[in-house]
């Protein structure tokens, strides 16, 4: 299958910079994600890869060959749209057959391929149903079938799950992942849902305002968010980020900040050049207690519980600390308006530059995790 390379891609609409110098490579057979909030340029990037948009500058390469000037029709790619975009007046069969008809495939061959594809996707029963009568989930599967039936070397998916009922999303995602593994097709998956992206992608790219924030494996994105933006975007709930200051006291780095009850010394693993920083911790890494913390080596904050969100596995408390809302995962029932203390183990603290937003120090505890080296 094919590799895709995006080289210094820029796309400007009438003075609005939608994509600002993005470069990344997708390996053959990889399930690659483009993750970011609405308006970050991920769909535009996908459209440039597909040929539906022409880049203002930069190149798109398939297997090393420059396809930037090639028309969409000739790129031999498959695409699934957020709006399904199946042909409503045609039956499921005709939808699936259409790409083959366009390629003048003989009718018997068409029949064979359509049945195969319908089999894989479980569409056998509805082959004769007209497009507009299908449910959204069915439409999306037909769309997927139509996208792969002619054996394209690249599959592009533009937020395929966003318009589906949440109950159908997981199942459709499973179909997609299954097909991808089966066909070993290079896939690029655009979404704004970080949970989706992190759970299915082999590698992904996080974008914001047209710029590339981070590229890497899901674990890297999750455990080592490269910028403040990524840190605040990834994770359910995402990392808590607060202002802070680093002082050098006789070779030891001290961290203080609004909300922190006392200054804490950072372990030797940390080396930070800047003074003004943003520090962060994950909601699941902190501990709530009713009494003041005894451990002076950890960071400590005091706050008042505002509300609680319940998820299936845990409770997320929204705690008001010094005017800022901090989210912490906890167990048990804590009433709103209760005063609580939050303790954060010092080796789980992330340090970001306040000036550039870049990650200055990842928590040292990550080194100890699993045999994976990143």
């Amino acid at each position: 299958m094919t590799t895709v390379e995006v080289d210094k891609l820029v796309k400007i609409y009438d003075k609005f910079v939608a994509v600002d110098n993005i470069s990344f490579t997708v390996g053959s057979g990889e399930f690659f994600g483009l993750l970011g909030p609405s308006g970050c340029g991920k769909t535009t990037t996908l459209y440039c890869i597909s040929g539906l948009e022409t880049p203002t500058s930069g190149r798109i390469l398939f297997d090393g060959k420059d396809v930037t000037g090639l028309s969409t029709q000739k790129r031999n790619i498959g695409m699934v749209f957020q709006s399904y975009a199946i042909f409503y007046n045609m039956s499921v069969y005709d939808n699936l057959a259409y790409p083959l008809k366009v390629r003048r495939t003989p009718a018997s061959e068409i029949r064979k391929k359509v049945n195969e594809t319908a089999d894989i996707l479980g569409l056998k029963e509805i082959l004769n149903v007209k497009g507009f009568k299908l449910t959204p989930a069915q439409m999306q599967l037909v769309s997927l079938g139509r996208a792969i039936i002619y054996g394209p070397s690249i599959l592009l998916l533009d937020e395929p799950l966003s318009n589906l009922d949440p109950t159908f999303r997981m199942e459709t995602l499973r179909h997609i992942k299954r097909i991808q593994r089966l066909l070993k097709i290079t896939t690029i998956f655009v979404t704004h849902d970080q949970l989706e992206a992190l759970s299915v992608c082999d590698r992904l790219v996080v974008m914001q305002s047209g710029k590339l924030m981070q590229v890497g494996l899901p674990e890297e994105i999750y455990y080592r968010p490269a910028t403040v933006f990524v840190a605040g975007f990834v994770g359910t709930p995402p990392m808590n980020l607060l202002d802070g200051k680093i002082e050098d006291l006789g070779g030891k780095l001290q961290i203080t900040g609004p909300g922190l009850l006392h200054t804490t010394t950072l372990p030797k693993a940390y080396s930070v050049d800047e003074e003004d920083i943003i520090w962060g911790f994950k909601p699941e890494d902190a501990i709530i207690s009713s009494g003041p913390p005894t451990d002076v080596d950890s960071l400590a904050m005091k706050g008042r519980v505002r509300t609680m969100e319940r998820t299936a596995a845990e409770n997320i408390y929204l705690i008001d600390v010094n005017g800022k809302t901090v989210k912490v995962v906890g167990y048990g029932e804590i009433q709103p308006d209760t005063s609580v203390f939050i303790t954060i183990p010092v080796e789980k603290v992330y340090i970001y530059s306040r000036r550039s937003g870049k990650l200055l120090n990842a928590p040292p505890y990550l080194e100890k995790l699993s045999s994976r080296s990143f």
């Binding site: 597909s50 029709q73 749209f81 975009a85 199946i86 042909f87 007046n89 790409p99 366009v102 769309s143």
Partner: protein, 295 residues
């Protein structure tokens, strides 16, 4: 609650009364009278009172249906209507596609392009009349580009006069088809077009498989409007060629007018009008039903 329903009934009937009075008074009653008269030998030349006329049964109908000139007029009008509409749809659709795919200076161009629609048929007739003189601008232009002396007799030749009429009519109404088709195109979901391109369909296929099926109802409406209106073709043909030369451009309305008003064989004419109306009604009924059936 009772008060609500009675006020409901009242508004329903109240609002429909004026139009019924108007249409029955001005359109239907005379038409019904015309139907009655078509079975008689009534002629205002003899007596204005309809009751004085003698009952002729179906005589008028028989004689009009065997009148070559009448049949010629019907045929001619049908031809004008159909060929005019064909041109209007072909050109209108083509222009709509052009604008849909995008042109520079779109607003100015489209404003100018729909001007013909706003003129009244008589003005259009006047414009084409002064353009199509044998020694007029159109021939002069043709002479210029062909390098030869072009002296086409647009209005005085029996072969070309009908074409001139059709051209004038089409010039006037193509913008309507253009507008209707363009608005239909704007409603085609973009993603379907994109999907078709992705799977490899060439632009022509996209037009054929996606765009055209979507705009079919719009074109159908335009066609029905145009065919019905074309059957009443009168102003343009009267002004430009007075129905001639001979009967080359004599449309149905012109024939009825000349025979009815100028020779006063009115009952006879009424039969002719009734026949046409019956035909058109049947056609419209089936056409309209097909639109409603589709959606």
């Amino acid at each position: 609650m009772a008060g609500r329903f009675s006020s409901l009934k009242r508004i329903e009937t109240l609002f429909i009364i004026p139009i019924q009075v108007l249409l029955w008074g001005i359109v239907m009653a005379p038409f019904i009278l015309a139907i009655y008269l078509s079975f008689t030998n009534w002629s205002p030349a003899v007596s204005v009172n309809p009751l004085d006329a003698k009952w002729l049964g179906l005589d008028n109908y028989v004689s009009i249906l065997t009148n070559a000139r009448y049949l010629g007029a019907v045929l001619r009008t049908t031809l004008f209507a159909l060929s005019g509409v064909a041109i209007q749809v072909a050109v209108g659709l083509g222009l709509a596609l052009l604008f849909y795919y995008g042109v520079y200076a779109r607003r100015i161009l489209s404003t100018i392009m729909i001007m013909p629609m706003m003129a009244s048929p008589l003005i259009v007739a006047l414009m084409f009349y002064i353009m199509l003189f044998t020694k007029g601008p159109v021939n002069a232009f043709l002479s210029l580009i062909t390098g030869q002396n072009v002296e086409i007799r647009w209005l005085s030749s029996p072969e070309l006069a009908p074409i001139s009429i059709i051209l004038a009519d089409s010039w006037m109404w193509t913008p309507l088809v253009f507008l209707i088709t363009l608005s239909g195109l704007s409603l085609v979901p973009l993603d379907q077009i994109r999907a078709a391109r992705i799977v490899g369909a060439s632009e022509l296929r996209v037009i054929k498989d996606i765009l055209i099926p979507y705009i079919k109802p719009f074109i159908l409406i335009a066609v029905i409007i145009r065919i019905l209106e074309s059957f009443k073709l009168f102003d343009v043909a009267v002004f430009m060629t007075a129905g001639g030369p001979g009967v080359a451009t004599e449309t149905l309305s012109i024939f009825l007018y000349k025979e009815g008003f100028l020779t006063l064989r009115t009952a006879y004419i009424a039969a002719g009008a009734v026949v046409v109306l019956l035909g058109l009604s049947v056609a419209t009924y089936f056409l309209t039903r097909s639109i409603y059936a589709r959606s």
